[in-house]
């Protein structure tokens, strides 16, 4: 019932927001993004240069899609979902608007990333996203206590029994599939094959459940688990590992042998954006190398800005290099776009794992 | 004489406050005993000690000669009719009456029979299946008594049960209660602040004040022979004056009230010249009308106002604006046209006024 209430109030307040925004000055950019992607000093500098206010709402992939779906793509002027969650969501819910690439300063982007994102966010011949920040998920380990863990599958070994934590979400299914020698991305287009992979992973995760301390859902909860030593091995984002490494030298991010999972968060326009010009201005502003460095220092992840690491904290560069050899970088498995419908299969698998004893 | 209830030197203290202060009395079997007193005099505390809801600070309570101090309320052979009756609204009338028997594990068939008998006895044979809120005030009263009496208690305690009834019904229930008591032939201990209830129903009345018994006696004794100023004042109505002893011989003593009225009384051993005293004179002891040379006290007074109240009609008289004297009007019709300003003669016997010396 809570969920209904939440949605209803969400819908109503969004409706009110929509009404109110008619009167709000056009010089406000309502940004739906991740924590750390729009630091205060960047917003202040943007305001100083363009006179545009930025109003930030922190969110995550599912939440962004749910919010935009509830309002039919209104309430926000710019959103930042991951690139694999764009064309599928567009196919299902029609919540985005194609990007006008002529308004983007292509020279600010790392070419290969821009091209890759254009391809993955293509729907019906239109491009919907441009890249902003990229990162990986892999293992965050206490390297002393969980030295034996080299890959996701090792989380099920007796060495770390009761000390493991991961999310009960799709990256876990994908990561385990790779570490079991399967290739889920290759099976994206073949539902039967994909179902078979999912079934194998489900069995593995159910048998592994006893090893799990708890499934984490928020970044802070995970940090607390690792900090207190209640968990020594987790599946998580690279930045989480590097952040902990500052306090606890033993804990850091480790790229798994089967490959870290690479994601790219993008810029997309919600279908009913009201400040399109301001959105393009923001994109071109934050992709400047200096600004991109500032964002990297706050968010902990690198950007798709060409030369965007110029002013990045050397400590962070060092941590990145410690976690990723060149071979590890080459081995990153980039998420291809998720075809519509796969998430239903994955959802059921996750439910079954949750229900298992 | 066998006593159903006997209290010996009962004391009950709440923190520093002494609610019941060294009270002793005994009640003969089958009598109707009332405890009369103003609110806050300790009568309810006394009753609750007898019922077992309070433990006395010291003293003893004996029922049929046996101390019941160690017996909890649910085992004592006394039952209490509560001020607001405390009938159980969640049960029918029959279930209310049967409650005590059910607790005693009496067989079902016997309970049914006894409840039926009990309802017939109180004149409500068809009320068994009714709900409590369907009963009238008087019916509730009878059910509450029947609920206790079915257990054959040695003593039935009643805590001002007529208080909530309207005047007419109260008058009626006084008579009915007295009848019920003689019918059941059980000792009733009845507490009230209403002197009329106490006087009408009781064999013996105890007047209680500040935790102590002022006087215990028959209603007539209390009315005509009050032993303390409090009893004189509380039971019935009186004219009350403060006075000093001014002249005294072996037969007669003259008392002068603060405003100068002279009153003749009988000489008693405890009166001395110059002493201050309280005089209580009942309005109905004063004769109104013709001059009577034989009267001990005689004075002229004018009517200040007439308080008409049927049989209890009175006149407020005044003597040279000195003292107000309340006088009962006889119901012979002789004074039915009395009005303010009329002059009349008042007279009364010397021995009829009660005089109490001022003692600490």
């Amino acid at each position: 019932m809570k969920a209904i209430k939440k949605l209803t109030t969400g819908a109503v307040s969004a409706a009110i927001l929509l009404g109110a925004s008619q009167f709000a000055s056009a010089e406000t950019l309502r940004l739906l993004t991740w924590g750390g992607y729009a630091p205060d000093e960047v917003i202040a500098q943007f305001k100083a240069e363009t006179g545009i206010d930025v109003e930030v709402t922190k969110s995550n992939n599912e939440d962004m899609i749910s919010k935009l779906r509830a309002t039919g793509g209104s309430g926000f002027d710019l959103a930042q979902p991951s690139q694999d969650r764009i064309s599928g969501a567009q196919a299902e819910f029609d919540i985005y608007k194609p990007i006008d690439l002529s308004k983007i300063d292509n020279s600010l982007f790392i070419d290969s990333m821009l091209e890759a994102t254009k391809n993955t966010t293509m729907f019906d011949g239109d491009v919907y996203g441009v890249p902003h920040i990229w990162g990986t998920s892999g293992l965050v380990l206490d390297t002393k206590m969980a030295a034996s863990v080299k890959d996701y599958a090792d989380l099920c070994s007796a060495d770390v029994a009761g000390k493991v934590s991961y999310r009960l979400k799709r990256p876990t299914l994908i990561g385990f599939a790779f570490s079991m020698g399967l290739d889920p991305f290759a099976a994206y287009g073949d539902t039967a094959k994909y179902q078979d992979i999912i079934n194998q992973v489900t069995d593995k995760l159910i048998s592994c459940k006893a090893n799990v301390k708890t499934y984490w859902s928020g970044g802070d909860a995970l940090m607390n688990l690792l900090r207190s030593g209640e968990a020594t091995a987790a599946m998580a984002w690279d930045t989480g590992g590097w952040k902990l490494n500052k306090e606890l030298p033993n804990v850091t991010f480790v790229a798994p042998t089967s490959g870290a999972l690479g994601w790219i968060d993008t810029f997309v326009l919600p279908r009913k954006t009201k400040a399109e010009d301001a959105a393009y201005k923001w994109i071109n502003f934050v992709m400047q190398p200096k600004i991109a460095s500032m964002i990297t220092n706050v968010a902990g992840n690198f950007t798709a800005s060409k030369g965007g690491d110029v002013e990045v904290d050397p400590e962070l560069q060092k941590r990145f290099k410690a976690s990723f050899s060149q071979a590890d970088i080459d081995n990153i498995k980039w998420y291809p776009t998720v075809p519509a419908g796969l998430e239903t299969m994955e959802g059921k698998a996750l439910d079954r794992i949750n229900a298992a004893k | 004489m066998s006593c159903d209830l006997e209290c010996q030197h009962l004391v009950k203290q709440f923190d520093k406050f002494t609610a019941v202060d060294d009270v002793s009395f005994s009640i003969p079997k089958g009598s109707f005993f009332s405890i009369l007193g103003p609110s806050g005099c300790g009568k309810t505390t006394l009753l609750r000690m007898i019922a077992g809801f309070y433990e006395p600070t010291s003293g003893d309570i004996k029922i049929k000669g046996k101390s019941v101090l160690s017996t909890p309320p649910n085992k004592r052979p006394v039952n209490l009719v509560f001020q607001h009756l405390a009938l159980f609204p969640m049960m029918s009338v029959a279930e209310n009456i049967a409650y005590g028997l059910r607790r005693r594990k009496v067989a079902k068939a016997e309970i049914d029979q006894r409840v039926k008998d009990s309802l017939e006895r109180i004149g409500l044979p068809d009320a068994g299946s009714k709900r409590i809120d369907q009963l009238s005030g008087g019916q509730k009263q009878r059910i509450a008594i029947a609920r206790c009496m079915i257990l054959n208690p040695s003593v039935l305690l009643l805590d001002e049960p007529l208080g909530a009834l309207d005047l007419k019904l109260r008058e009626h229930m006084k008579v009915e209660l007295k009848q019920l008591q003689s019918q059941f032939d059980t000792t009733f201990v009845y507490i009230t602040h209403d002197q009329s209830e106490a006087l009408v129903m009781s064999d013996q009345v105890a007047v209680m004040n500040h935790g102590r018994f002022e006087q215990v006696g028959t209603p007539q004794e209390l009315y005509y022979e009050p032993q303390t100023p409090f009893v004189a004042d509380f039971v019935g109505e009186s004219n009350h004056w403060e006075a000093t002893v001014s002249v005294q011989d072996s037969q007669r003593t003259t008392l002068t009230t603060t405003s100068g009225l002279s009153i003749q009384t009988q000489t008693t051993s405890n009166l001395e010249i110059g002493q201050t005293v309280n005089i209580y004179l009942r309005p109905e002891s004063i004769t109104l009308g013709q001059e009577q040379t034989t009267a001990d006290n005689q004075l002229q007074a004018s009517v200040k106002s007439v308080l008409f109240d049927g049989a209890k009609s009175r006149a407020i008289m005044t003597n040279n604006d000195a003292e107000e004297i309340i006088v009962s009007l006889p119901q012979t019709g002789e004074f039915s046209d009395l009005k303010a300003g009329d002059k009349l003669s008042l007279s009364w016997r010397a021995d009829i006024a009660k005089v109490f010396t001022n003692q600490a």
Partner: protein, 288 residues
């Protein structure tokens, strides 16, 4: 005042309530119902069908979760009643004046912070490196750390804790209205403590018991944070499932069907409870 004016006043007085009822209760539920009988056949194409309801009955996971949620909620309600009754009795009948209001206020105190904060409070106490585990180790009562979180007992405790107030308040108010002399009369007529409780106190407080139970049951059934956070990897709660369907699976159709199933189950259980206890909703609501 003529009748049209009276009517206008009535309409004006009722309009906030009617607006609330219409906009936030009835319309969303109608919307939700239509959503629940819609089946997605292809992206952006839907057909009317009962497939979502069929999905619930064919997938044991879903109805197991609902059955478990309902069972745990009933158990939590019963346990809350058993714990709250003596507390309410003590507050209503044993205490007077200031102590009474202080104790009543103490029951309210946990509700000055949000449910989330309260639940995190429990987590700080109960986790493996938490206050209780460390204290027990420090006292030498246990050898190694103990994890108190992530099991059904902890979830149950959290649910009871969250529900206590909603049981205590109606119980205190009905027990307050019980005349002390009824209890004394019970003793006076030979009743024991147990028989007075059974024949006088409980029958009198039945409306309070029922309304407390309804509120606690509904709150528990609809609770989301406590079972999810304290239950951890073992938590299976139906509202969690609804949330998942709506927010992470984007499957609003199935989520809406689940909402209706939850509504039906909770209404049925409340109706059964009223039938079994011989109370009506009207008498319960009116008296407490």
């Amino acid at each position: 005042m003529n009748s049209s004016q009276t009517r206008l006043t009535l309409i004006l007085l009722l309009s906030p309530f009617l607006l609330w009822l219409g906009l936030l209760v009835i319309i969303p539920h109608i919307d939700m119902f239509f959503l629940s009988i819609r089946e997605k056949v292809a992206p952006r194409t839907y057909e009317t069908s009962l497939a979502n309801y069929a999905e619930f009955f064919t997938e044991p996971f879903y109805w197991n979760t609902l059955a478990r949620t309902a069972f745990m909620s009933i158990l939590a309600t019963v346990l809350t009643l058993i714990i709250a009754f003596p507390v309410a009795y003590y507050i209503a009948k044993m205490l007077r004046g200031k102590t009474k209001s202080i104790l009543f206020l103490l029951c309210l105190l946990p509700f000055w912070v949000s449910e989330l904060v309260r639940t995190f409070g429990w987590m700080i106490l109960l986790r493996e490196t938490g206050v209780i585990s460390s204290s027990l180790q420090w006292l030498g009562l246990i050898d190694g750390p103990i994890e108190f979180l992530y099991n059904d007992v902890t979830v149950m405790m959290g649910l009871i804790y969250t529900s206590m107030l909603f049981m205590v308040v109606p119980l205190v108010s009905t027990l307050d209205s019980l005349d002390d002399s009824l209890i004394e009369a019970g003793y006076d007529l030979g009743g024991s403590k147990l028989s007075i409780l059974k024949e006088i106190v409980i029958p009198h407080s039945m409306p309070g018991i029922i309304s407390g139970c309804i509120v606690v049951f509904m709150l528990t059934l609809g609770n989301y944070l406590t079972p999810i956070l304290l239950g951890g990897k073992s938590s299976m709660w139906f509202t969690g499932q609804i949330y998942t369907q709506f927010i992470t699976r984007f499957n609003w159709e199935l989520g809406a069907a689940f909402c209706f199933l939850l509504l039906i189950v909770s209404s049925t259980i409340v109706w059964l409870g009223l039938k079994l206890s011989g109370q009506t909703l009207a008498s319960t609501v009116a008296k407490s």
